[in-house]
């Protein structure tokens, strides 16, 4: 039981990180469907840098950096050339899948050392809970702190309100003097960084060797997660645990020979998202808008 819960928590980290980043990007009005690609890029950069520098911490840094860099491609096209965000995001994932396959080729068969576990004094001694929550790697703690920080940042801080404002009505934001494009560039960059770290988590903690396409759809789940969470950080945390739990159930189910197909569980995150979307749609009709209004719309300075 204990180990099952730990596995669920750890499995949730990549989608939580990627989801956190995508949440900020979408709050600013940019729909980046390239999450899967950015995670792959982060994964291969992390793995490669650990092989070169021998230090798993370098993996976090280079994973994040790679995520930022590849998100710049997306930003350049969608924000400055005003291309269609959906098509560009899909393109980014396809591009990154190929690119990481190429870069990762020499890494095949090599194994890296994982991120060390950090036991938090006193807290890790609490029976049962201690070993579940407080004996993890640094990226685990970071991901939790990050989503809490994002929550308060979005609601309380001036910059958080500005990001929400840009996502709500970019023309208004422009007309009162905010640099819409720069703000979006930064938000998408943050999204890239988080997706990169989320991707890095996979080789650094979960499976310490390279295989092509090793994110295995986690980027898509992260995208669904943001919608499921209706763009609210704490719901995102909850959703990440649920989606992580479902993923683990697949393996448990297969191992124990449960009488329903694993494909059904595979499908669950998306099914849950569709249900969440329907609920959001009903709420929206009653005047409670959760979706950032200018999500996916290119901003044209109308001179």
């Amino acid at each position: 039981m204990e180990s099952l819960l730990i596995t669920i928590l750890v499995t949730s980290v990549p989608i939580l990180l990627a989801g956190t980043g995508e949440l900020i990007a979408e709050k600013s009005g940019v729909l980046n469907l390239g999450v899967e690609g950015m995670m792959l890029t982060g994964a291969v950069a992390a793995l490669g840098s650990v092989l070169i520098f021998g230090n798993p911490l370098a993996g976090i840094f280079f994973g994040a950096l790679a995520g930022i860099l590849i998100s710049l491609i997306f930003s350049f096209f969608t924000i400055f050339l005003m291309t269609n965000q959906v098509a560009t995001g899909l393109g980014l994932t396809i591009f990154a899948t190929g690119l990481t396959g190429l870069i990762g080729e020499p890494f095949v068969g090599k194994t890296i050392s994982s991120l060390p576990k950090i036991e938090i004094i006193f807290l890790s001694d609490i029976p049962f809970l201690g070993s579940i929550f407080f004996k993890h790697d640094i990226l685990f703690y970071l991901s939790i702190l990050l989503i809490i920080a994002v929550h308060f940042f979005l609601i309380k801080s001036r910059y958080g309100i500005i990001i929400r404002a840009v996502g709500d009505n970019h023309d208004s934001a422009h007309s009162i003097g905010y640099p819409v494009k720069i703000i979006r560039l930064l938000c998408v960059g943050f999204g890239g960084m988080c997706a990169g770290m989320g991707g890095a988590y996979i080789p650094l903690v979960l499976t310490p060797h390279w295989s092509e396409g090793m994110t295995a759809g986690k980027g898509w789940i992260a995208l669904a997660l943001v919608v499921f969470a209706s763009w609210l950080p704490f719901r995102l945390l909850l959703g990440a645990l649920i989606f992580g739990g479902i993923t683990i159930l697949q393996f448990v189910g297969q191992a124990r020979g449960w009488p329903f197909p694993s494909q059904f569980l595979n499908m669950l995150p998306y099914l849950v998202t569709i249900i969440a979307l329907s609920i959001i749609s009903i709420k929206t009709r009653s005047g409670n808008t959760l979706v950032p209004s200018s999500l996916g719309k290119p901003f044209l300075e109308n001179n």
Partner: protein, 508 residues
């Protein structure tokens, strides 16, 4: 107002702004005194918005300079303008619906305040000027009037020396306009100058002491409003004499003149914001214009939807030339010879991102489908719709920025002329028009009104739904008033006065 004592606050000299080869402002000179309400008058596209965007730092002038308090200022972005003491209330607002009122205000204040300080100063300011706002509400929940108050409070919190107001009354009810004018007059007494943009002449006469008139990117004249009649203002703005409408010819009354009758029309509201139509009854004869007056949001949209076939009901509710069409779709009604011009020209009457000829095709669809061979039912020939479009443009003086533009690239007035022209092009027997001149400049409005009268002279029937009482009285033969989903008895215009109509509008 002692002229010698009033100092100049803002002076623009030789301001020129070009977009590519298009000159939006051509060496504009304007001078605004301290505490003065200065009106900026001009038709749509005359360059008013471009000019004030330069004052607010949203656009940089290509030539010329702006002096503020006798110093040349260089406004790189709106923050600079706000720091100088220039505030602006936008026509379509610059608010964020998903954020609360106080959040909306917070992010446009350059001064950094805590939440408590901010709410306190919002409440103080709103009390001081009599502008009621509630800081914790979301903007999406507010009425248009309230939203405008938020914008004004937001500007006033910065203690502006110059307040720019872009067409502030186009969205307000008469009562709200009275309140707004009180606030503006008090502001000007307290020493704040106001640059008031409008194309409504009587408003300018009422509120402003001076007026600068723009026409095709240039200043035509600057004058004291005291010494000038609205007629002269109108002529300067349009650049030619305003031609009075030619009265329509009345047809001989025939027994078989009945075009449409609506009997006990009932539609339950679609959502909580809608209006239920209750037992609507009226008839209209050929050669007649029936005006339906009323304040916006009293069931006009719902009535239009029921008449056009966007919402369907019982067969007998609507009878056109002995055919019961209450449950017939819009296409069938079109084929019978009824055309519709809904109130929203963008998104409703046209698809903004389609070209004009494609928009023409969409309403001519029925004719294409039913009168053509099998081959032509599947494939369309764009030549035909381009031809039809060109005719509509020519007949209705639709001015396009270039050949065959997207619908959204037309100015409001031109798009409206196109939409109405398109309805007339189909040679209809009955046209139902909603708010035909809303937000349209005088020149275009006059053309549109004349078209409506001409059409009635030709024996067509016209139902005119309008908020504009002057328009209703100018065009209609008989008048009904819609209020909270109920339609008053239809009366001959001769037996009705604007006061009576106003009273009927108020019944809730």
């Amino acid at each position: 107002m002692d002229k010698k004592n009033s100092k100049t606050l803002l002076k623009a000299s030789g301001l020129t702004k070009k977009f590519g080869s298009f000159v939006a402002n051509d060496s504009i000179n304007i001078e605004i005194k301290k505490g003065e309400i200065h009106a900026l008058l001009g038709e749509n596209g005359a360059g008013k918005s471009t000019l004030v965007k330069m004052f607010y730092g949203l656009l940089a002038p290509d030539e010329g300079n702006i002096k503020f308090n006798n110093k040349i200022i260089n406004l790189l972005n709106p923050k600079f303008a706000r720091a100088m003491g220039i505030g602006m209330v936008f026509q379509h607002f610059s608010l964020f619906p998903a954020l609360s009122v106080s959040e909306n205000i917070l992010i446009s204040l350059d001064e950094k305040l805590t939440k408590k300080q901010l709410e306190k100063s919002i409440i103080n300011t709103s009390k001081k000027w009599g502008l009621k706002v509630s800081p914790s509400k979301k903007v999406a929940e507010l009425s248009v009037g309230e939203q405008q108050r938020v914008e004004i409070v937001r500007c006033l919190l910065q203690k502006p020396k110059l307040l720019i107001m872009d067409e502030p009354t186009s969205v307000l009810s008469p009562q709200e306009i009275v309140n707004l004018f009180k606030v503006l007059k008090n502001l000007s007494k307290s020493g704040c100058s106001i640059l008031y943009i409008s194309h409504k002449l009587h408003e300018i006469k009422e509120i402003a002491s001076k007026v600068t008139i723009l026409k095709s990117a240039k200043v035509v004249d600057t004058m004291e409003t005291k010494n000038v009649s609205t007629n002269i203002l109108a002529e300067k703005m349009v650049g030619k004499k305003i031609i009075r409408l030619k009265a329509k010819k009345n047809l001989k009354k025939l027994k078989s003149n009945l075009a449409l009758s609506v009997n006990n029309l009932y539609r339950f509201k679609k959502n909580q914001f809608g209006v239920t139509l209750n037992n609507i009854n009226f008839t209209i004869d050929y050669g007649q214009v029936l005006g339906i007056a009323g304040i916006a949001g009293n069931g006009q949209v719902e009535l239009m939807e029921a008449l056009s076939g966007e919402t369907l009901g019982k067969k007998e509710e609507i009878i056109f030339e002995n055919k019961s069409i209450g449950n017939s779709k819009i296409e069938y009604r079109r084929q019978l010879g009824i055309e519709f011009v809904p109130e929203e020209r963008n998104n409703h009457a046209t698809v903004p991102d389609l070209k004009l000829h494609e928009n023409t095709f969409l309403t001519f669809f029925g004719y294409h489908i039913f009168n053509k061979s099998f081959f032509n039912k599947i494939f369309t020939n764009p030549k035909l719709s381009i031809q039809a479009s060109k005719q509509i443009e020519k007949k209705n003086d639709v001015r396009c920025p270039y050949d065959n533009p997207l619908a959204k690239q037309l100015s409001g007035g031109n798009l409206q002329k196109f939409v109405i022209g398109r309805a007339f092009q189909a040679n209809p027997k009955l046209v139902i028009i909603s708010q035909p001149t809303w937000g349209v400049d005088i020149g275009a409005a006059n053309i549109i009104r004349q078209k409506i009268l001409n059409l009635a002279s030709m024996g067509k029937a016209i139902i005119l739904i309008s908020q504009d009482l002057d328009e209703i009285f100018e065009l209609s033969d008989s008048i009904g008033v819609i209020s909270n989903g109920n339609l008053s008895k239809i009366k001959n215009k001769k037996n009705m006065t604007p006061t009576q109509v106003g009273l009927l509008m108020g019944v809730s």
